[in-house]
């Protein structure tokens, strides 16, 4: 009985220690990635290639999602506001929620699913097939050569994707509000311009997307680099990337919103 209890407590201790150790490894890893960023100055081609696979190839899902999110938002805002005769404010609701919350958050979630998991799988497979060790044998720093370009590409791509998502969402909202529901197109734009602040709303949304890009890229490359180099470990690492990124995005979004708009 006492032994069982001790076993349980030991398990608790082991889990705590291993998570703290993992957190520590993630931070040490981040520092070495920062140090590896200098390698991009010599070989910018590495970054371009990663921008293509991380940014450009995520574009389609972002555009389609943005369009539909904007359209649905406009439709719902219209149903809620038309009872009060305030349907001209549909654009304010669509634009503000896109810029402040939905743009950065949904883009980051899609980005984690589409690009983050791919990054983890790619780096993890390189580790499992011992390509990373091979590079080290040839005196090539794998962090500088493989990890850093992917990390930086993630950070650069996220604000771009967020801007595109929000812009396409606004266009989707416009299509539904003006073309489908017959609101006035002048009122649509002027209401939004009257209520949306450049720095307060657009600027803070972009800061959010930068933070999310940083976190998702960090989690993705770390999970790949730290994975158990078996096919099972690789699968778990990819799953963890998506789960941890999504949780981190949602939790951080609350913190950032409270800091930015909470006053």
């Amino acid at each position: 009985m006492v032994n069982q209890l001790l076993d349980r407590i030991q398990i608790l201790g082991r889990v705590t220690l291993s998570s703290v150790a993992r957190l520590g490894r993630a931070n040490v890893f981040l520092m070495s990635v920062f140090a590896g960023l200098t390698g991009m100055l010599v070989r910018p081609g590495l970054l371009v290639k990663q921008l293509f696979s991380v940014g450009v190839q995520t574009l389609i899902i972002i555009v389609v999602a943005g369009l539909f999110v904007g359209m649905v938002m406009a439709l719902q805002a219209y149903y809620a506001l038309v009872d009060f005769g305030a349907e001209d404010s549909v654009s304010v609701m669509v634009v503000l929620s896109l810029l402040r919350e939905l743009g950065p958050v949904i883009t980051a979630l899609l980005f984690a699913g589409r690009a983050g998991s791919a990054l983890t799988a790619e780096i993890g497979l390189m580790k499992a097939t011992e390509q990373l060790s091979g590079m080290e044998m040839m005196a090539v720093n794998p962090i500088e050569r493989v990890v850093a370009p992917r990390f930086l590409a993630g950070i650069i791509s996220m604000p771009m994707l967020t801007a595109i998502f929000s812009a396409v969402g606004v266009i989707g909202g416009y299509l539904v509000a003006v073309e489908l529901l017959g609101l006035d197109s002048g009122a649509f734009w002027s209401q939004a311009q009257a209520k949306v602040e450049l720095y307060e709303d657009l600027g803070n949304g972009m800061i959010k997307s930068l933070v999310f890009g940083f976190v998702v890229a960090w989690i993705a490359v770390f999970e790949g680099y730290d994975c158990v180099p078996t096919s099972e470990g690789l699968g778990q690492a990819t799953t963890r990337t998506v789960v941890y990124s999504s949780l981190a995005i949602l939790a951080l979004d609350f913190v950032l919103t409270a800091l930015m708009f909470g006053k």
Binding site: V48, L51, V56, V95, M160, A163, V170, W189
Partner: protein, 153 residues
């Protein structure tokens, strides 16, 4: 593997699209286009009660927006609210006996300052103060007064 030219082309297009989206959001959705209120001339007005007026609330004359509220302070000498507003330089033609009142757009809408031009020959300039002001209508006070007058009958 794509060759490096198409690769770079696609990345270039992607970055350009990102910039364009940001530019479109800044220009057509946010208030960047209607900036420039800072270049206007500043006039002041004192009110007993400004109600729900806020910084950046519109200032309009005959329903046309001519400026914005830039600052709201509480004047401890006169125990009044001191509102500073910036008026667009193209409307440099408000007589010095212009009156300012705090109005509400619609029944429950936001509050704004309405300017009613007077008849003097001199115009308001940078730093002038509007003497004739009318405070915001506070719904509770009106209801209170109404109930009082009913009770008196």
């Amino acid at each position: 593997m794509k060759n490096s030219r198409t690769l770079e082309l696609m990345v270039g297009l992607f970055v350009a699209a990102g910039m364009a989206a940001l530019f479109m959001l800044a220009m057509s959705v946010s208030n960047l286009a209607s900036y420039g209120g800072d270049e206007g001339y500043k006039i002041k007005a004192r009110f007993d009660n400004i109600g729900g007026l806020k910084v950046r609330s519109p200032v309009s004359a005959s329903g046309v927006r001519v400026g914005r509220v830039t600052d709201i302070q509480y004047d401890t000498e006169g125990y009044e609210a001191l509102v500073t507003m910036s008026i667009d330089p193209q409307y440099k033609v408000f007589p010095i006996d212009t009156s300012a009142s705090i109005l509400t757009s619609g029944l429950l809408g936001e509050q704004y300052i309405g300017l009613e031009p007077g008849a003097e020959e001199e115009f308001l300039i940078q730093g002038s103060e509007i003497d004739i002001t009318q405070s915001a209508l506070v719904l509770e006070q009106i209801i209170g007064q109404f109930l009082y007058s009913k009770a008196d009958e």
